[in-house]
């Protein structure tokens, strides 16, 4: 008998798939729908201390192999997010609150609110590649990362995940700075751009954006492998997972669970059930009984 349940930071998941932050996770009812479609958990859109409308469209550009986006951290502000959390939590599955801030103090305020709202864990967005003063600008400074992670770990009761950026010179240095996090989430989007040759202009209003989808899968697998090998931390893998084989690659590179985002665009909402079926089939044919038997088997 094959079991596809897994655990991350002590949180039980009915399967290794959760919804990645930034995709279909602004409205509580949409998060509920994604849980019904088979995601074991959802991560919310990244929420900050105040309301932001984000950039003007185009904020998303479909490209070969994925999506390019610069939404600009649009969010209603933490005080307006209580209702969405309540709706999402009514699905009785884990809901991870993603938060972004510029300082440890901002992250702490947001983390405490998410905890109050009932979030199962918080995910620190230390990696958004397209907004000045936030995300990667915070997450590429190891001293600041350590301060943020340690501040949240000593003040929150719920687990703390740190989502790191691939847009840094040495991710292992940042991963070590985030050593106290309960799990690391790897990777956020890869900084990229697209130019419309007839308009002779960058398509995204922000010009630069983050690349997601198939095009970055093997970048993600490499980061998960490297960080797993160097730190031994629990990892949630994310980047370009579209089928069971992609998911298994991440697990074998050291991830205990994964996140899925862009595949909702390329494959639709049934992607969770399709991957789950493929995962069971693979485990049966390869003789694995549990996900834990596959985690990190490729790491040497």
């Amino acid at each position: 008998m094959v079991h596809i349940d897994t655990a991350i930071a002590g949180i039980q998941l009915s399967n290794p798939m959760m919804l990645a932050s930034g995709i279909l996770d602004e409205n509580g009812y949409t998060m509920l729908e994604i849980l019904k479609k088979g995601a074991a958990a959802v991560v919310t859109k990244s929420i900050g201390t105040s309301e932001r409308t984000g950039y003007k469209p185009p904020v998303v550009v479909p490209i070969q192999g994925g999506l390019l986006n610069a939404v600009g951290l649009a969010n209603p502000g933490i005080d307006n997010f209580r209702d969405e959390m309540k709706i999402a939590l009514s699905g009785n599955r884990p809901v991870f609150g993603s938060i972004f801030g510029a300082t440890a103090d901002e992250f702490l305020q947001l983390g405490l609110k998410m905890e109050e709202y009932g979030a199962t864990a918080v995910e620190l967005n230390l990696s958004c590649p397209h907004v000045a003063g936030y995300g990667t600008e915070v997450g590429s400074d190891p001293v600041l990362v350590e301060d943020i992670v340690n501040t949240l770990k000593s003040n929150l009761k719920i687990p703390v995940f740190a989502k790191l950026s691939p847009n840094v010179t040495d991710i292992v240095e940042i991963a070590k700075a985030a050593q106290k996090a309960d799990a690391l989430v790897l990777i956020n989007t890869v900084r990229a751009m697209s130019i419309d040759i007839h308009a002779r202009k960058a398509v995204l209003t922000n010009r630069y954006g983050g690349l997601s989808g198939q095009a970055i899968k093997n970048v993600g697998v490499r980061y998960v492998y490297e960080v797993s090998k160097e730190t031994g931390k629990e990892i949630i893998g994310v980047g370009g997972i579209e089928n069971a084989e992609d998911l298994i690659e991440y697990i074998m590179a050291g991830a205990s669970a994964v996140q899925i985002g862009t595949a909702l665009y390329t494959q639709g909402k049934d992607v969770f059930s399709r991957i789950a079926a493929g995962l069971v089939e693979f485990m049966e044919s390869e003789g694995f009984n549990r996900i834990s038997e596959m985690i990190g088997v490729a790491v040497e």
């Binding site: 995709i23 279909l24 996770d25 602004e26 409205n27 009812y29 949409t30 509920l32 729908e33 994604i34 019904k36 859109k45 309301e51 932001r52 409308t53 984000g54 003007k56 469209p57 185009p58 904020v59 998303v60 479909p62 999506l67 986006n69 939404v71 649009a74 969010n75 209603p76 502000g77 307006n80 209702d83 969405e84 419309d196 007839h198 308009a199 202009k201 398509v203 209003t205 985002g261 862009t262 909702l264 665009y265």
Partner: protein
């Protein structure tokens, strides 16, 4: 982005134009394009002419649509799509109910037998009421400047609903809600085209969602039965930032 040369710009009153361009792509009634005006923004616009010579009808609401109505013949138009679930056009005897610029997406459904209720705030905002056959249209305005004084629903009340195979409705969400409430126990099937804040057009950003469904991919057309099960319909939506607000009364 797809880039096409504009072959004609037809003025339809003070603040509304139809932009025509050749595009050999099948587009079905009810579908829309994400139209990009470089240096401004990108907005969803219904396809009002679905033949080989496509057309989009734009009314000036905000900064981007105001700039778009200034486009001229020979300019380029940039867009992606077509997106969205089209109307089911098989039903024969059609009743078409449009409010304001909502008529743009309903235009391709008008045939010689179609019956229409066209409503707007005031007579100069009426769109495509002249496209129905003689005697086939009921005009309604909020201020009574043309036709019946009242709302779209007031134009419906005198019509024998059981004589139609399908009602097609597009306009402000509260108008749609009032019509849904009116026909809930009447024997007429209906399809509604909804409009909400839309940013990506491809089912990822969650701005346009209603009860977990994305207008851009699973809509914008929904059947009467689908809408009856939705509790965000006519009651709540998200703003550009993602803030939940109540939909106001008109």
């Amino acid at each position: 982005m797809i880039a096409k040369i504009i072959s004609e710009v037809e003025k339809l009153g003070r603040n509304t134009v139809t932009i025509r361009f050749r595009w050999d792509q099948e587009v079905q009634p009810g579908q829309f394009l994400m139209v990009w005006l470089p240096r401004h923004s990108e907005i969803p616009i219904s396809v009002s002419h679905t033949g080989p010579m496509k057309g989009i009808t734009i009314r000036s609401y905000g900064e981007t649509s105001a700039a778009m109505i200034g486009l001229r013949e020979g300019d380029r138009i940039f867009f992606r799509g077509p997106y969205g679930r089209p109307f089911d056009t098989k039903p024969v005897r059609k009743l078409i109910v449009g409010g304001g610029s909502g008529m743009a997406g309903l235009l391709p459904l008008i045939d010689s037998d179609a019956r229409g209720v066209v409503s707007a705030r005031t007579s100069s905002d009426l769109l495509f009421a002249d496209r129905f056959a003689e005697g086939h249209v009921t005009v309604v305005t909020d201020d009574g400047s043309s036709g019946i004084k009242g709302y779209a629903i007031d134009g419906l009340k005198s019509l024998p609903l059981d004589e139609f195979d399908m009602m097609y409705v597009c306009g402000p969400e509260l108008m749609l809600k009032s019509i849904l409430d009116y026909i809930v126990d009447k024997p007429i099937p209906a399809q509604f085209s909804l409009e909400r804040i839309m940013k990506c057009g491809i089912g990822v950003c969650d701005s346009c969602s209603i009860d977990g469904k994305q207008l851009c991919t699973e809509g914008p057309t929904f059947t009467k039965e689908e809408l009856l099960g939705m509790h965000e319909f006519g009651t709540a939506r998200l703003t550009e930032s993602g803030k939940r607000i109540q939909i106001g009364r008109h």
